[in-house]
Symmetry: C2
Subunit: 256 residues, 2 copies
């Protein structure tokens, strides 16, 4: 008899986030689910790991087919703890999200949701990060769920490639407003930063980081930002090898 | 008259680190230097940004050709604050390091040093991250300095490409032990994690994250780990576009 599938779920919005709960409900249809998610929001933590402080784990729930743990650390800490302490065996899939807010284009670099998926693929696990383009805590994940189910199913059918995970972004909207799935590339963009300078009650300056996304290129039809603006779900395969092979050739001509 | 070059320096070991001071001494030969570095060690913070807490900046030193600021946040916070608040104009180069410890292979993913360089290249600045394969606070950076100077000079001569930065790792050792520079690729590897479980005085469990690097492939001569083990300085061009173009083609065949 085939072993039941084991699916690891994490996120960066924290164990109580609505997007996580929506994701759990869908992937439970595919096998046994273990959630290891941050105790609190870890948005913007990227691939950070915690080495200065010890990590704590809390058992939130244990029921038939579903275990939920929270961890005091980052999303990547959650993945590492799950793989090396909590799961007992290598999971058949890692899903991260559903993030409240887009992780398209360069936002992937700052994203804890996507870092967790990348950590999964570094560990040779089929890994997918899901994000909904809606920051609201009360965002509607119903239409997103339809696409999550379809994509998880395809990944179980085809298997992922070592060193590759998927960055899936889903536009906000009702199911009949979404137009389908486009496989595309990361848009070239950056965050236009602004700092808000304030003065504290002790008369000392401090700064709040704010900003908004800007694309650095016109939105071609093969980019994730184009897909999202046109109500398509974007699927971008992400590699954990960051080498620019084109530039290796060029650099060799520099004659170091 | 040509404008004096402006060079932004940061790191993840903190403003007091010996590796930072070594780097500053070398790049001062090339122009005006502004350091914006974390107040304390931010090792393992990857591309994390601080949005939950305000950021504070402290002026450490201002002298002819050199300004040093420390920031309460992460390396990427330092870069953002420098570019958008402290520098006044876009710098001609960003250098990060010299890190105490290797950032070769998959360590780039966790590295604050390399995240700062990647943030520079997202902002279209010539950016280089330097690391010495020696974790010690008292590491000897003399031989490293020779290679830092040579590589900075080459980058000023040739210019970097948009969306690419350099990950430079330098073996420990005296100058006559190092064999030169190899342009190479990121080794496929992962951190073999171990968690040390302990019990605190209140009888609650906690975990310390530990581990060691393992390569997932035999060390070919075109990999950074091979270069370092053979006493060569490794130079890997890193791209900020994480799309796997080979997999875009494959995924399109899945028929979503």
């Amino acid at each position: 008899m085939e072993q039941e599938r084991l699916i690891l779920v994490t996120n960066d919005d924290g164990v109580e986030a609505k997007g996580l709960k929506s994701l759990v409900e869908i992937v439970r249809e595919f096998g046994k689910v273990v959630v290891v998610a941050p105790e609190e929001s870890q948005s913007g933590m990227s691939h950070a790991i915690t080495t200065k402080f010890p990590l704590r784990v809390r058992t939130v729930k244990k029921e038939e087919g579903l275990e939920i743990y929270s961890c005091s650390g980052t999303p990547v800490d959650c993945v590492k703890l799950a793989l090396h302490q909590l799961l007992g065996r290598k999971p058949d899939m890692l899903v991260s999200g559903i993030n409240h807010g887009s992780n398209a284009s360069v936002s992937i670099v700052y994203s804890g949701t996507m870092a967790a998926a990348i950590e999964g693929s570094i560990n040779k696990i089929n890994s997918i990060g899901f994000s909904l383009v809606d920051h609201s805590a009360e965002a509607d994940f119903d239409a997103a769920g339809v696409y999550v189910r379809r994509i998880v199913d395809k990944v179980f059918m085809n298997g992922m490639w070592n060193g590759t995970c998927l960055n899936v972004n889903i536009p906000a909207g009702k199911e009949n407003e979404l137009k389908g799935i486009i496989v595309c590339r990361q848009t070239d963009g950056y965050w236009q930063e602004e700092f808000e300078k304030r003065i504290d009650p002790s008369n000392r300056e401090y700064y709040w980081l704010t900003g908004y996304f800007s694309n650095s290129e016109p939105l071609a039809e093969d980019t994730d930002e184009w897909a999202l603006q046109n109500k398509f779900v974007s699927v971008v395969p992400i590699q954990t090898d960051f080498t620019s092979y084109a530039r290796v050739k060029e650099l060799k001509k520099w004659g170091f």
